[in-house]
Symmetry: C2
Subunit: 199 residues, 2 copies
């Protein structure tokens, strides 16, 4: 009984902290999607979440840190599929991203971060780190393909990732062309076809 | 003499218009690079350029139109090289872009436009059109490679462009990895090597 009581007492502040952090992140994220990065001040987040500014600053030392964690909530971190072939894995993974890119929230918010990072080196570093975590699934499927001998061990996984993510991101944000099945397939074949030459 | 005088009289208003347009575009462009898109209001451009708001609106019906023309001043439109091979042409063209991407002004300003376009469909259309013009050099060298038989006529030039521009843009703005010679070369070989299979 005593132990149980202690646990309850101990968990209560954690629960409150968790809930207030959640409220702050949700408010920051809603503001981001509604107004872009320009509208997300710590003041505005405090008003929208009902959490005091001092509390916000206790959890996130800078506005950039808050923004980035709000974005990472958006769930842009896909799981690594394991179909047994690189072509199969890429089809699932890129297909998933191509479906999300046109209007998933993280995709509409990311340009705000990218833009602000041009003038904020700390944000740039945080964004690159977050993006690195998001690439984990690609790294996993590429390394598995190398272990199977499907892909040369001389292929730099970072190059392969840029060759599959790059064309999709480029069409979404720069050329604004459709991310249709034909296009996604051509991106995959380009990587799978090419790397086979170097086995 | 009469003719000369007429010419002077006729050219004077044009010269004034040209100079005031130049002043407006320069001011807009300086504001863009200093503050990002958020800082570029027609008010601010008017103050910085000394050109009246009514005059600005006469030349550019919307803020978006002004912004885009200010960006296109930045000279992101490269010339098509003609070395005789796709590999040679891509080496020059991508090399040029890879050199500019880290800190050319157009590259530091573009994310502002991309971000604002998420919430402004007119700006999105204008940006896509401007980007299309910027791709002209790629289209030219790809079509020449197809005429020479170096690249299959079944290759969609738009796909090829996404496969070479995408990885570079991706590293510059999303993964923030270096655009070194090795990487640029691997992007080129990926396109040249791959397309040869389909000759």
């Amino acid at each position: 009984m005593v132990t149980k009581k202690r646990r309850l007492v101990a968990s209560e502040p954690d629960g409150r902290v968790r809930r207030s952090k959640e409220a702050v992140l949700s408010a920051a994220y809603r503001l981001l999607t509604e107004t872009g990065l320009g509208g997300v001040s710590v003041d505005a987040v405090s008003r929208k979440s009902g959490v005091a500014k001092t509390t916000i600053y206790r959890h996130w030392p800078t506005r950039s840190a808050l923004l980035l964690q709000a974005c990472s909530k958006a769930g842009a971190k896909p799981q690594a599929p394991d179909t047994g072939t690189l072509r199969g894995d890429l089809t699932l993974l890129l297909g998933h991203i191509a479906t999300q890119l046109p209007d998933a929230r993280w995709a509409t918010v990311l340009p705000s971060i990218i833009d602000a990072a041009e003038r904020d080196p700390e944000l740039a570093r945080l964004q690159a780190r977050l993006h690195g975590e998001m690439r984990g699934a690609f790294r996993t499927i590429i390394e598995r393909a190398q272990q199977r001998g499907e892909l040369s061990r001389r292929s730099d996984p970072a190059h392969v990732i840029a060759r599959v993510m790059g064309p999709l991101f480029y069409r979404r944000w720069f050329s604004r062309e459709p991310l249709d099945d034909d296009f996604v397939k051509s991106v995959i074949e380009n990587v799978v076809g090419h790397t086979k030459q170097h086995r």
